[in-house]
Amino acid sequence: MALRALHLLLLPLVLIGAWWLASAVTGLYYLPTPGEIAATFVEVWGAERLAADVLPSIGRLIGGFTLGSVLGVALGVVLGLSARLRAVLEPVLEFFRAIPPPVLVPLLMLFMGVNTTMKLAVIVSGCIWPILLNTIEGVRAVDPVLIDTCRCYGVRGRRWLTTLVLRSASPQIMAGMRQGLSIAIILMVISEMFASSSGLGYTIIQFQRSFAIPEMWSGILLLGLLGFGLSVLFGLAERRVLYWYNGVRAAARGE
């Protein structure tokens, strides 16, 4: 327990110390001390703001991430299974993958209008890629012996998909989803730079634009904490999903 706490806190404490030193020594306007940031944090992120700005943002974040995961895995499976389809679609997908959100968002607005759907689409447009790419690679790497086993025992259709393809790609899918989760947070912020008047991302950007620097950092702190919290939850889910995978590894070491 104590060791876990040490794991959790040691490096953050060291980094906070370093930050403190840096901000105290340089006295830069854009670099307030951790103390100031902490004090501002308490002040800024009260219950009201949490309810009005943060919760709706988290809602959209989770909605977008879920949607992105479902689409990413579904498309990833299809593309992973068909080399032909992959060859056809890959250049177009790669094209869109390279388009930066500030350029892509206006395009999405053009097609969807300015609304929550558009914000979800922005989040999906970013977090889908690591999930898609990892799913494709995971599906391509399914053990050929298992493929043969399923073929000759007539395992096909939904069962084939769920017991063979998705399960064996799951370590890679999880890697992609872990990536996608933090990208979803980033894009939640970016989506609120357009056509918003509330939200966590909007609030942070507004602080930044009005030179409310400790407030801005307190928002970034909140983003980081949010990311950490979600990743802990994700870790719990992952441990369940990849139970067998970790088991295989532990078994070989006799643990």
């Binding site: 053990d143 043969d148 086993t149 073929r151 000759c152 017991t163 067998w244 295989v248 078994a251």
Partner: protein
């Protein structure tokens, strides 16, 4: 039942092609139990995969029960040589066995019956709830066997299925296969390296030559139908057959292990 005609398989590759099978022709009657022996790397696994419809031959044909094999035919079970990798690590032993039965749409209770029976037959009922990676090599191999027999196939292809089990278990499993074969009148093709095993088990033993691979010999095992680990193996005829096949294999594998220039002489 099973007609293999002029089968050839060439693997493409960056450093040139490999001709794993040159020209194989043989047939198996309905309900026959044939064993396949041949030197390491002569193409037994390749042949099995072609018969199972998992691999497309370069030329020649496989016809099973009148229809040409292009994909895995129904009612066929395969025990792969790479038994460890053929088990699903995310499924418990029982679920591994029951997976094909689910696909057969058997009711839950029937599945349970079949898997219990099969696991019991291979001595793994106690490990039904373990994951494959919690088992020893031999136990994993037996799970793969249990899966195949629980499936109650009409055609059973086994690729060195007893390679990882101990002598006693092996003997028990041999008898199990013969019992099941008789009970369900399956057609069985059984790859083994153990010549005694081939003679003990089979009605016929097909001997494959080393590459370029052909069927070098097709030996009918004229031992009585009722076999018994101690008596059958003690019979004079058993020893004769064994010696004959041993000599064939010796020829075949010498050409494989020997220097290239000697390879030609063996034939």
């Amino acid at each position: 039942m099973l007609d293999v005609t002029g089968l050839q398989k060439i693997y493409p590759g960056q450093q040139g092609e490999v001709e794993a099978l040159r020209d194989l022709t043989f047939d198996l009657g309905e309900g026959e139990l044939a064993c396949l022996v041949g030197p390491s790397g002569c193409g037994k696994t390749t042949l099995l995969k072609c018969i199972a419809g998992l691999m497309r031959p370069s030329s020649g044909s496989v016809v099973l029960a009148g229809t040409s094999v292009t994909g895995p035919p129904p009612d066929m079970a395969v025990v792969f040589q790479e038994y460890g990798r053929s088990l699903f690590p995310w499924l418990r032993v029982r679920d591994n066995v029951e997976l094909p039965l689910k696909e057969k749409k058997l009711p839950k209770q029937r599945r349970r019956e079949l898997s219990d029976e099969a696991l019991d037959a291979v001595g793994l009922l106690k490990s039904a709830d373990a994951y494959p990676w919690q088992l020893s090599g031999g136990m994993q191999q037996r799970v793969a066997i249990a899966r195949a027999i629980a499936y109650e196939p009409r055609v059973l292809l086994m690729d060195e299925p007893f390679a990882a089990v101990d002598a006693q278990t092996r003997a028990d499993l041999e008898d199990l296969i013969r019992t099941l074969w008789k009970r369900f009148s399956m057609t069985v093709l059984f790859v083994t390296h153990d010549i005694d095993e081939a003679v003990y088990l089979g009605e016929r033993v097909l001997v494959m030559s080393s590459s370029p691979t052909i069927i070098q010999d097709d030996v009918t095992i004229d031992l009585p139908d009722e076999r018994d680990q101690i008596n059958t193996r003690g019979e004079h005829r058993f020893a004769e057959l064994r010696t004959r096949i041993y000599a064939e294999i010796r020829n075949a594998s010498q050409s494989a292990t020997a220097q290239p220039q000697e390879a030609g002489k063996a034939h």
